[in-house]
């Protein structure tokens, strides 16, 4: 090939992709394990860390310490499912945020950009207001999931209705549909007379992980892992889509297929997250940004790390939500916004040149 004829002037340059990914995975996995262990060990009941570790080790056939039955049940049935759901939701929102930012080539995109979150919230609020959420215990999350995914498809259908896809149309359609869903939520709140129901709706909108059970893990886990896996597998195509449709097309991406696939995967995992936790704000926006500052913009690195980073962020935020005014709790969505908004502004000011160019 022609290139071989050209004299090499420079020494081999280490691409370091694998090294960056490896370092990030090790660091964030370690951090996640640490945060999860701390979280498993804190709560109204005083359960020593050694017992928590013993409780985790026991099913693996390792007996480390004696603990009582209540401790075991509390760790296994109350703390663990909540933390696992938190981690899954964080993974989903982190990955979906990274995906949306790449797909829309817009640093301000997040999982809410195409109306997924508000659609899920509107469906959930309707379910609460009509009493449908009481049909059976997973009725509320299933309503939210249907609302979220339905909204994503509606917005995408609007964006391609003209025959030609455009990112701008997609974002604008998302804004319009989100506004509509917001109005729907307001209407439902007005129409609901019962004070206690209203309380349920408002707190649900803030996003929270109260009383999550293993059922919520089984409901959300498989879809989040599958959706996240799809995005990880196509992270390279995401890199190319960031360069624009022509560049992506000429470098081997079937844009017509890949964009809907990636959008669907991101919408489904966001919808699932909204379904089991309400709308936890800022995770999908700041986690990718933080990681990008450290690990660069390559989605092959960023997508897997966003999953771990999102999990760490949500589990940590929930730990704060559970302990800051213990034994009462605040909603985790309030904590993520309280941490997320100022932190995001800090990043914005400190790295304004870089963020501008993103």
């Amino acid at each position: 090939m022609a290139l071989a004829l050209v004299t090499r002037l420079r020494p081999p340059r280490e691409a370091a992709l694998g090294r960056r990914l490896g370092a990030g995975l090790i660091f964030l996995t370690g951090l996640l394990i640490f945060v999860v262990l701390v979280s498993l060990s804190t709560g109204p009941l005083d359960i020593p860390v050694s017992h928590v570790i013993a409780i985790i080790a026991e099913p693996l056939g390792v007996h480390l310490a004696d603990y009582d039955r209540t401790e075991e049940l509390v760790v296994e049935q109350i703390r663990m499912p909540r933390i696992v759901v938190g981690a899954l939701v964080g993974m989903a929102l982190g990955v979906a945020g990274t995906t949306m930012q790449a797909l829309f080539r817009n640093p301000l995109a997040d999982p809410g950009t195409i109306g997924v979150a508000s659609g899920g919230a509107a469906a959930a609020v309707i379910a609460i207001a009509t009493g449908a959420s009481l049909w059976f215990f997973l009725a509320l999350p299933l309503f939210a999931l249907a609302g979220a995914i339905g909204t994503a498809f509606l917005v995408y259908a609007i964006a391609i209705a003209s025959g030609r896809f455009s990112v701008a149309t997609l974002i604008l359609a998302g804004v319009a549909v989100s506004a509509f869903m917001g109005a729907l939520i307001s209407l439902v709140i007005v129409a609901v007379p019962e004070r206690d129901t209203l309380r349920g709706i408002l707190f649900w909108l803030a996003g929270g992980l109260d009383s999550r059970s293993w059922d919520h893990v089984w409901l959300s886990g498989p879809l989040i892992l599958i959706g996240g896996g799809v995005i990880v597998a196509f992270a390279r195509d995401l890199n190319l889509l960031m360069m624009g449709d022509d560049d992506a097309g000429s470098l081997g991406v079937n844009v017509r297929v890949m964009r809907p696939v990636l959008l669907t995967a991101a919408s489904v995992i966001t919808g699932v997250a909204v379904a089991v936790s309400g709308m936890i704000a800022f995770v999908g926006l700041i986690v990718p940004h933080m990681l990008r500052l450290v690990f660069g913009p390559d989605n092959r690195v960023l997508v897997p790390l966003s999953a771990l980073g999102g999990a760490v962020f949500v589990v940590l935020a929930d730990e704060i939500a559970r302990t800051v005014i213990a034994p009462a709790e605040i909603r985790v969505g309030i904590v993520t916004s309280f941490i997320g908004a100022p932190f995001f502004l800090f990043l914005l000011l400190r790295h304004s040149r870089r963020v501008n160019s993103l």
């Binding site: 190319l240 000429s250 991406v253």
Partner: protein, 427 residues
């Protein structure tokens, strides 16, 4: 261009390409061929369909009709991965690339050659490094692309295309962000790649550049091919006027024999304001070429003073159809020529003196200039520096009484940066 058997191989055949958006036909039955080892230039005015044709050839558009064959294989039938290994496309506007380093961007050119989850192999790194060097972007490897200048960024995306190791390279205005020496350097690189067996099709708006570096040109206008062939066959003043709606000056460089073009600025204001006005230009040695183009373009009837054979200004005057006084180079001004000059000067409405230098051979031009109804100076250089006549020229010069304000004429001429300063703009 000697056609060897190998180079005669037809690599790209685009036939009957039709592309429409909302019933507007952007490409109408366009044919384009390119052989192995050939650089084909796509020229034509803005909106002619150059970019669209490149995208159609690259398989990035769904054409309404027609076929694109690469080495006999239908491009649209290729898988996207297969196509990405065969055809590389460098868009006119390089993406911002959002925080990626140049190295990472160029590595994207290797994606088609790698497995989906495979990480870079040594061969990929080598190809990327080579591509960066070839494109002159070796120093930029670790810079984030969004911190680069437009030209540097374009180099990075060219390197990415090279890293794809394509058989066909599609370039859309690849040098529009480069300065002159980098433009030449870039096309030298492409010529080298082409000589080594690649085929390139480049949309180029600069006709001189296209003429100088391309083996063949295709002139598009309104989505239709209006001429096709060697640069000399395609870039005739007639073709250029048809396509661009302006007159052009085509000359061949006496040194290299390459075609040189001066197309009048198609965006020029006030074409025709000078109609009916005769302007005489006293120039020589290339000091008046731009002035004459500009004045002709504005619609003035332009005449020129004595111009020796081989003088650049004379070539310009020939191209423009400007009447002048032909003299022998270094031969001095004989009486007949002087009378002829006087006639032209007396007929004009205004005579303009350029930054031409005066020696004993042409000092009589200044004498003649004194007979002009009005005189103006398109000059900034101190006259003394151009006087090689021991003061006679200066004495004559001082007798001139140039109009204080030459109003519209000055506006027209100075509207073109550098002209009033007598600077040369050349290719």
């Amino acid at each position: 261009m000697t056609d060897t058997v190998e180079r005669a191989e037809q690599r790209l055949e685009a036939r009957d390409i039709v592309f429409e958006i909302d019933a507007t036909r952007l490409l109408d039955r366009v044919d384009l061929d390119a052989r192995k080892g050939e650089l084909v230039g796509l020229v034509g005015p803005n909106g002619a369909g150059k970019t669209t044709l490149l995208r159609a050839i690259g398989g990035l558009l769904k054409t309404r009709d027609g076929a694109v064959l690469l080495d006999g294989e239908e491009v649209r039938q290729m898988g996207t991965g297969e196509r990405a290994k065969s055809i590389a496309h460098v868009a006119q506007l390089a993406p911002l690339a959002q925080g990626f380093t140049a190295l990472e961007v160029v590595m994207m050119g290797r994606y088609p050659h790698m497995g989906r989850v495979q990480s870079e192999r040594a061969v990929d790194r080598e190809a990327v490094r080579d591509a960066l060097e070839i494109a002159g972007a070796g120093d930029l490897a670790d810079r984030t692309v969004d911190t680069l200048s437009g030209g540097e960024r374009q180099g990075v995306f060219v390197a990415r295309a090279l890293a794809q190791e394509p058989r066909l390279l599609l370039l859309d205005e690849p040098t529009s962000n480069l300065d002159i020496n980098h433009q030449a350097r870039f096309f030298n690189i492409v010529q080298r790649l082409v000589r080594d067996g690649m085929t390139a099709v480049a949309a180029i708006h600069d006709l001189s550049l296209a003429a100088r570096f391309c083996d063949r040109l295709v002139l598009l206008n309104g989505g239709v091919v209006i001429a096709e062939g060697t640069p000399a066959e395609v870039l005739t003043p007639e073709n250029i006027e048809t396509a661009f709606g302006v007159r052009a000056v085509v000359s061949s460089d006496p040194g290299s024999g390459a075609l040189s073009l001066s197309v009048m600025d198609p965006g020029a204001p006030a074409i025709g304001v000078g109609a009916g006005t005769r302007v005489h230009v006293v120039c020589g040695g290339g000091t008046g070429a731009r002035l004459m183009y500009r004045l002709s373009e504005a619609g003035f009837t332009v005449t020129a003073g004595p111009l020796g054979n081989g003088d650049t200004d004379r070539a310009a005057a020939d191209s423009l159809g400007v009447e002048y006084v032909p003299v022998q180079a270094f031969g001095g001004l004989d009486d007949a020529s002087h009378q002829e000059h006087l006639r032209l000067i007396k007929e004009c409405d205004i005579a303009i003196l350029s930054d031409v230098a005066f020696g004993t051979g042409n000092v009589r031009s200044l004498e003649a200039l004194a007979e002009a109804p009005r005189t103006a100076l398109a000059t900034l250089d101190p006259f003394a520096g151009r006087d090689f006549t021991d003061g006679e020229a200066t004495r004559l010069f001082e007798r001139l009484s140039p109009v204080a304000a030459w109003s519209e004429l000055e506006a027209l001429v100075t509207g073109l940066p550098g002209v009033a300063h007598g600077q040369q703009e050349n290719n």
